[in-house]
Structures are given as structure tokens and as C-alpha cells.
Subunit: 232 residues, 2 copies
């Protein structure tokens, strides 16, 4: 958080972070900190305030980070790519896990300076009312932390769901290949495959059937059809 004016916002941000399992708070020249108002608003997240690191410049604060994300209100003219919080979390979760990421929140009144934005490799803007997009800084922290937490939960669900059920639903590759071999024989019998260049049609057929996510049962039916046909 860069040059935060109100200690209450620092406390509220700490609480927002802790509710979503984020703990590492950096403060660049806070106007008033430590402060009892910050601790009151932090409620049960005093530990985050106690462990908060303070810096004299944003450059110092993000020195050990490989990805610096500026959180800005919209309608700024920026050269960096602008993403939504959901897009940001996808990048973070499905990108390299070894990267240190900093989210940079600007001043209550006037956000981040152009020089500070220049330090950012990504800019993230929270979708909001075009007539009144002025989110409280701690509310913005809450949304980002929430999206991070939800994205992580989703990734965990997805991973366990995949390992539990996908094997059952989708036919194994060997069965799919067996079906395609059978299909080529049938197409050959009716002289539908171009002998000199069968690949384009075969590729189209593969794409079409692969999209339908065939189960083993589906393949059994299809091969039954092909078998009956080839007997004729």
C-alpha cells in the first residue's frame, strides 16, 4: 500500500487479507502507522500489522518480486496490459508458481503515480460503476484477496474432480484409436477416403468425434455399427 493516508484503511486491508489467507503486507511511507485506529479496524488481524514491512519507495518494496501488479481505477491511459481480477488470478495460478507477485494499491485520493505504474508489469482494474467507480482502498484489497482465495479453491476442486472422475467418463486413448482404425476401414470400403491424401478427412473426423468426449460405451456402439456395416 503506497502512502496510505488513513490508518483505518491499513487495518481494514490487513483484516481483508487475513480472511482470505494472505499475510504479507508492505507499506510505503504510510502517513500514520503504527496507529491504534489501524489495530482497531484490523480486528483479529493484528499479527499482519505487526509483521508489516515498511519501505521508503515502491521500488524498494517490490525489489524481490518478479511480477508487480498495479491496481488502478479505470480510464487511465496505460501502456501495460490491463486485466480484471479474475484474469489476474488465472495468470497467477496457471503461470509459474515460483514467482513472487506484488499487488500495489495506491493512495486513497489519487492512486498510483505514472512513475509507480511504470514499475508494474501488469495493471489490474476492478470492474465497477462507470458513474462512480471510487472503491475504498481496503474494499479493493478485499476483492483482490477474495478472488485469489476463490481461484485457489477452484483449482483444488478441479484437480481433485479430474483425478476422481475423468478417467471414468472419457474412453482411454487406445479405445479411441481402435475406433478410428475401424472407421478408416469402413470409409475405405465405401471408397470415401482419398487414397492419395486421406489425412485431411481423417483429421476432420478425429476432431469431430474427439469433441464429443466419447465414453467407452459410446465407442462400443459406434464399433458395433461399423462391424455390422463391414460384414455386408
Amino acid at each position: 500500500m503506497v502512502e496510505t493516508s488513513h490508518p483505518g484503511n491499513i487495518g481494514a486491508a490487513a483484516r481483508a487479507m487475513k480472511t482470505m489467507c494472505l499475510y504479507d503486507l508492505g507499506l510505503v511511507l504510510p502517513k500514520q502507522f503504527p496507529d491504534p485506529v489501524a489495530f482497531a479496524r484490523a480486528s483479529g488481524a493484528a499479527d499482519i500489522l505487526e509483521n508489516a514491512r515498511q519501505f521508503n519507495t515502491l521500488a524498494d518494496a517490490v525489489a524481490d518480486c518478479q511480477n508487480v501488479v498495479g491496481i488502478t481505477a479505470r480510464n487511465r491511459k496505460l501502456s501495460a496490459p490491463v486485466v480484471t481480477p479474475k484474469e489476474l488470478m488465472q495468470q497467477m495460478l496457471y503461470g509459474s508458481q515460483e514467482i513472487q507477485v506484488a499487488w500495489v494499491f495506491g493512495r486513497e485520493r489519487n492512486g498510483l503515480s505514472n512513475e509507480e505504474i511504470d514499475l508494474c508489469s501488469t495493471v489490474c482494474t476492478i470492474p465497477s460503476n462507470s458513474d462512480y467507480g471510487s472503491l475504498n482502498i481496503a474494499a479493493a484489497v478485499q476483492i483482490l484477496c477474495y478472488e485469489w482465495h476463490v481461484a485457489q479453491l477452484n483449482m483444488q476442486h478441479e484437480a481433485s474432480r479430474k483425478s476422481a472422475s475423468q478417467g471414468k467418463a472419457l474412453a482411454p486413448v487406445a479405445e479411441r484409436e481402435g475406433f478410428y482404425e475401424h472407421l478408416w476401414q469402413a470409409l475405405d470400403k465405401i471408397e470415401f477416403l482419398d487414397k492419395d491424401n486421406p489425412t485431411p478427412l481423417m483429421r476432420k473426423m478425429r476432431r469431430l468425434f474427439d469433441r464429443s468426449q466419447m465414453s467407452s460405451a459410446d465407442i462400443n456402439i459406434l464399433r458395433g455399427i461399423l462391424k455390422n456395416f463391414l460384414k455386408q
Copy 2:
């Protein structure tokens, strides 16, 4: 908001609402309202505070609503179905548009009473840290309002994307039906369709091919195959 203790939280909730294009705030027996602290925290959302309606009971506040959603911390034993904010927005957006929905936020210290929960047809819990899930009430309002705004934006995007491109990709129903007719003829020729009960197989085939989202070009190829086969 039910019996909110701190006027600052009412102001912060009003600001959170307005940033996400929600405007209708109801207050059940607020401890201290109207109050200058509420207006200070509302920032540019004073209009929402000025128009806020006050009630003596939650039942009065939600009297004109068809869907009442209690926002609660987790780990309560509840009979009502519990959804996440994202699930709630899907229900709201893809359910009937004519329904008045109330989101009910409880007291800062002890949330909603069991009697108040009984008034709710749905319960929504914000995913959070299992060791410290204590979101500030205005922060919870911010998350719900944000999810609503984002869900609406997504629905709009989806609608415009669909109308722009889907027509091109998916074959029209009449072409799909033509293909299926052709397929039944072929299956009939090889005596693969059970004359007494052809429907189960036909239904399976429809599901399989529908899942593959056939384009007109796909259907032309498939019908070419069937035509060659039927000529034999």
C-alpha cells in the same frame, strides 16, 4: 443490514453498493443512523444513505421480496441450501428476472439470529480462511455487490458474443435433423436399429453428435459418407 452497530459500516456498505451499481439499501433498527460518520465513509454515495429505508423488523424489510438470501459466516448448521456468491449470482441471473431479491447482512458481532435465517430461502457464505473468516460487514457487502456486477457484465458479453458468432459455427437445427434422418436410414439398412424400440439408440447417437457441435461443413462430410454407403 440488520441492527448494524457502527454507522461507519453503513456508510462503507453504501459506497460498496454504488461502486457496483446497486442502490436500494434497507436498514433494520440501526444503532446509530443517520450519523455523520456514515456519511463520511459513504464518500460519494451519500444518495444511497439518504434514500435508505428503515424498518423495525427484518420481516417488514423483506415483505415485498420473493427471494431472501441470508449472508452468513460458515459453519452454521442450517436447513436452507448454502451457496457461494458466484453460485448465487448464477441463480439470480439465470432464474426469473421478475423476482425481487433481498440480501440480508447480520450484526457485526453475531450475524443473523436463527429466526432471521428462517426468513431466508437461500443462505450464501463467502469462502474464507478457515482459521479467520471474520469479514468486516461492509467488506462482505462489497464482495457480493462486486460478484453481481461482474456476473451481469459476463452475461452481457456472452449474449453479444453468442449473437455475433455462434450462428456461424453451429449448423442450423434443420441441417442436423437432415443428418439424423440420413443416419437412421443407414442404420436401418445394416439392421442395427431395433425395429421395436429404436429410440434409445437414436437418442444416444443424437447426444453423441450434438456434443460435438457440428458445423454445416461437418454435416456435409458426414452426409457424404452416408450417401456413398447407401448407394452400395
